[in-house]
């Protein structure tokens, strides 16, 4: 039971961080389908720091790993920014390309690094046993992870940013009606860049959180198993509003956690369902949720449409 709570909280934190990233980007008018890829790159940044600097004092190491994930996530999201804001590229296509590129590039990079260190090692794995312990406080068997409070703080910050702040309100204007925003002196290009970069930072952080959730070794060939897209479903279910997204993330996190711990529950084990059913569960639930919550969607009006100064 404790384990279920623990996994629910940690997976919810991942989904929450990434979904908030997607939310900010969409409010600025850019659909960020590359979240999945940004997560991989952020995870890579964090994992590199964790495997290299595990001798640092814990607080330093934690902050450094998070910073690495944020910075790499932001850098990688520039690929989306350049293409979608300045070159009016198809945002779906660019996002898909970013997802494919991230896994491929991370695999090539990690393999090259491992091979350089040891010519016989052709794996794409990075290990961070010692560093993972620094993120975790063990309370009577419950693994408290620093990402859990962080996710809560981020929700509050995102709420304050979007609704109680000049910049945030301007950002949302650019996603609703960029021409109107432009006419009152808001720089649409700059504002959209802000949205994309923030989403890159949050998704990168989410990626690091994901690889810390249950394991202390990550195989980069596997990417992040559709978590970026689950986060998008969470965002739609949360109707693009921070606190609703938090609740949605808890729900999805719960179903994802079930697949990790279902064997610990007698009544679930007694059902004797194959493990693949539990693996599928988060995706099935999100489909069902989408069926009910997409009809009257509160999506920003101008999302996905490249900004053209000349159009009305």
């Amino acid at each position: 039971m404790l384990l279920l709570v623990q996994y629910t909280l940690i997976f919810s934190s991942v989904l929450l961080l990434v979904a908030l990233g997607g939310c900010i980007s969409e409010h600025s008018g850019i659909i960020n389908l590359g979240l999945e890829g940004i997560m991989v790159i952020g995870a890579l940044g964090g994992a590199l720091v964790m495997s290299r600097f595990s001798t640092l004092p814990p607080a330093m190491m934690v902050i450094l790993a998070m910073l690495a994930a944020i910075v790499l996530g932001m850098l990688y999201s520039c690929l989306l920014g350049i293409a979608a804001i300045h070159f009016k590229a198809d945002q779906t296509l660019i996002g898909t390309a970013m997802n494919l590129l991230a896994t491929a590039a991370a695999t090539v990079f990690v393999k090259a690094m491992n091979t350089a260190a040891n010519p016989d090692n052709h794996s794409s794995e990075i290990e961070y046993v010692a560093a993972r312990k620094m993120f975790i406080v063990n309370i009577n068997g419950f693994e408290f992870n620093w990402f859990m409070p962080l996710a809560i703080i981020v929700v509050i910050l995102v709420y304050l940013f979007l609704y109680k702040n000049k910049l945030g309100l301007r950002l949302m204007a650019c996603g609703e009606h960029p021409q109107a925003a432009d006419s009152v002196g808001i720089n649409v290009y700059k504002t959209r860049w802000m949205g994309v970069l923030i989403s890159g930072a949050l998704a990168g952080l989410g990626g690091l959180c994901y690889i810390l959730a249950g394991v202390s070794l990550w195989k980069f060939e596997n990417g992040v198993a559709g978590f970026g897209f689950l986060a998008l479903a969470v965002m739609i279910f949360g109707q693009w509003k921070p606190f609703r997204i938090a609740l949605a993330a808890l729900l999805f996190g719960f179903f994802r956690a079930l697949s990790n711990v279902y064997t610990g529950f007698d009544f679930l084990a007694a059902l004797n369902l194959p493990s693949t059913v539990y693996n599928m569960l988060p995706y099935i639930i999100s489909l069902i949720v989408l069926i009910f919550f997409s009809k009257n969607s509160a999506a920003p009006k101008a999302e996905g449409i490249p900004y053209d100064k000349g159009s009305r």
Partner: protein, 366 residues
């Protein structure tokens, strides 16, 4: 010369070549970054693929292998471009491909069906999966990209479970088709003789080419194709003109799914590959189809050549010097190419601008 440059097809071709060259160049930079010594040789090996073999016989055989894998890629890229013409981004093609593999292999191994029924069964299964995406899109306004991704994973796990019933006891792979049910193998019609007795080159090759032509004709020369494209351009205008836009969306995704599923049966029924029942990621074929579709300028005939190119460099990846590099470098190159395809619109715009400028200059001189 100027008139030639103005033509859409020529512009698409030039844009694709630019994307390929830039993609290869970036791949080269990455290799250079990892280890400068063998980078040049390795990137050449990626492009040469089967030509790295010295004996012509061996080259032919490897060429056949690449060809066998090009066929499903052509089908997947047709699937993607067909739906894209109707304004839908069917990223679920990857899952529909998986469904096709599941249906054809299960029918072949468990029920002992012949090759044609197996193939048709794959078409049915994958078009049903496509229909789900279509129904959700048209009646419940669910974004087809997100529902497609969710269904990809659902299809993957379902397939793993279903095909576990027909797998070898000692390995995670499904049983050999040629041992259990040779009648499900696609007929070669003598094509294998052309490729140094490579039995993976089958009837699928001419079939895929014919389907590409059919798709091209369907989209541009028929009333149905016109309706589909009109729906894609403006759903509301299409409805106003009396077209059943919901039906069109669902039909499109069904056809798109059928194409992807047929592609899977065209690969797995050659016996070239077996399904691995412990697979934890969706096969890349559907995603590479996106690369091929866009690289081919979203033209069915262009897709044939771009698919061959993508598969050519994907296979070429295994010839890099594995002491320093890994074969995934080809994935890097093809994903960079997809990324660059996002700029095709911009490339074409600047080409047109250049043409216009030089024409204006001429006008002034006259």
């Amino acid at each position: 010369m100027k008139n030639l440059l103005k033509r859409q097809g020529v512009q698409s071709f030039i844009a694709s070549i630019i994307c390929i060259l830039l993609g290869l160049f970036i791949g080269y930079i990455v290799l250079l970054f990892i280890n400068p010594q063998g980078a040049g040789q390795s990137i050449v090996d990626v492009v040469r693929n089967f030509f790295t073999w010295s004996r012509p016989q061996q080259q032919l055989k490897q060429f056949g292998n690449t060809l066998a894998k090009t066929i499903p890629l052509i089908m997947c890229s047709l699937s993607i471009l067909f739906s894209y013409k109707v304004g839908l981004f069917n990223i679920g093609a990857a899952g529909q491909y998986v469904a096709g593999a599941c249906a054809s292999l299960y029918a072949a191994l468990a029920w002992g069906w012949g090759w044609l029924p197996c193939m048709l069964f794959a078409v049915v299964a994958s078009s049903l999966l496509g229909a789900i995406v279509g129904i959700l899109k048209s009646y419940r306004n669910v974004n087809e990209v997100i529902s497609g991704i969710m269904l990809n994973w659902i299809a993957l796990y379902t397939t793993n479970t279903v095909l576990s019933n027909v797998k070898e006891t000692a390995s995670p792979y499904t049983m050999y088709l040629n041992k259990v049910n040779p009648s499900a193998l696609l007929p070669t019609m003598g094509l294998d003789q052309l490729f140094n007795k490579n039995s993976y080159v089958t009837i699928a090759v001419p079939l895929a080419l014919i389907i590409a032509i059919v798709v091209a004709v369907l989209l541009t020369k028929t009333k149905f194709g016109y309706e589909l494209r009109a729906t894609g351009m403006n759903k509301n205008a299409a409805r106003y003109a009396g077209m059943a836009e919901n039906r069109n969306i669902i039909l499109t995704l069904m056809i798109s799914g059928a194409l992807a599923g047929l592609g899977a049966s065209m690969l797995y029924q050659t016996g070239y590959m077996r399904w691995e029942c412990t697979q934890s990621s969706v096969p890349a074929m559907g995603f590479n189809g996106i690369a091929a579709a866009f690289l081919g300028g979203l033209n069915p005939i262009g897709a044939i050549f771009s698919s061959f190119f993508i598969q050519h460099i994907t296979d070429g990846g295994q010839y890099v010097n594995t002491n320093y590099y890994s074969s995934q470098i080809s994935d890097v190159i093809s994903s960079v190419i997809i990324y660059l395809c996002g700029f095709v619109l911009f490339i074409k715009l600047s080409m047109n601008r250049m043409i216009r400028r030089s024409e204006e200059k001429k006008g002034v001189k006259k």
